[in-house]
Amino acid sequence: MRLTGILALLCGVALVLTLQDALLAAVRLPLAAPDLLLAVVGAVAVARGPRAGLVAGFLLGLAADLVPPAAHPVGDQAFVLCLSGYLAGRVATAMRGSVVRPVLLVACLAALAPFLYTALDYAVGGGGFRGVVAAAVASAFYSGLITPFVLPVVGFVLGRGESRGLPTQRSHSRLPGVKTLNRRASAGSTQGL
């Protein structure tokens, strides 16, 4: 059970990374690119709370740091996505309701991310880059646009994990995020096959 869980988690992460790769390869939009990882992390956090969000963000970010075309210091995306997942979870538990709010939430986080990357770059002695504000606005727009398509998919996959007899814990009081992710990933892999 534990081994299959880990395998399923790996499959889920690989699937998301492949989709993000396809997205980056297929569309070359000006100023920024749609951030699928952020949308997925945001959706997990909205559905499962801050702990699941931050663990999902850390794992997905770390994986994205290691695969091409990344060339920035390893840990950059893990840091930003982990923080984004936590923030998304905290804000989402405070507000529940229409689909517009998670979309706005992801857009806000996407706008925040470029500033976080720049701050991290400065912290390790980098130089920063021009056009952060334009990149932030573009990123918020693109990531907000793809979020409505990501939300139901992530919700459905998490829901399938629940309907399989796994306990539902909306309060996420004792639920470690990894288990949540396992469920998401296991459902995702069977869906993919």
Binding site: G61, V67, P69, G75, C82
Partner: protein, 292 residues
Amino acid sequence: MRADKGTRLLLAVLLAAAFAMITMDARGGTRSPLRPLRAGGEAAFGPVARTVAGATEPVASFVHGFGHSDADREQIAKLKAENAALREQNETSADARARAAELDKLLHVASVGGYRTVPARVLAFAPRQQGAWSATIDAGTVDGVRPGMTVLDGDGLVGRTVTVGAGTATVLLAADPRCTVGVRTAGAGGPGGGGAVGLATGGGAGELSVQFYDPQADIPIGTPVLTFGSGGGSPFVPGVPLGTVTSVRPTPGALTRTATVKPYVDYGGVQTVGVVLTPPRTDPRDALVPPK
């Protein structure tokens, strides 16, 4: 309340772990302990990137009209399919023609400069909002590509290779703030055959900044800037054009002068590139500077 505390602790631990990795990787440079991990990532995901970029999915959307008979609908569907096929054929040949032209230009640059290059295609760019300008190309160790090789295209310098997998490589573009290139201005005179020598750093969108060491050097607007060449030709071979000077101003708090350089290459839209496998036997000097 207790769960809240646990979550915050987990957040702090993970953020600290991520920051530790960033520091280790950024300070370690090419000897970073995390480099093998990245090489593993390249090996595992390189084939995926190749497959994904290779699969072109023609998106056909058939809008079913109301008020048509079945025969009409069939006819419309048939014509639409035919039209889509023809359009795709047309676009494919246009794409192939554009690629041939780019390869032609690259061949010219390589032969004039005396570089031995291997052509490659850009598969994907990293999201630019992350402050990183890097790309995946479809050439790797099987083509003779190694980390720390110059990447150029028909217009000028593109960047250098950082991580190389079997069939793919990650290129750090010259526009990246982490990419530093030794440069000189075109023309005879000072050391390296050029007028002034400096260090170019990427600045993100469409501009590079070059710090010239000689405070007295004459740097008119519009002067071409070329690579100075690293020792042993790695990571940069000499004589590759970078861009033209658009403005010069004194560096705040230093004796040097900083110039803004407009690159020849559009770093957001590079398609066909060449990786320099062997540096030229002699410095090509200003042979590659494009005519005005």
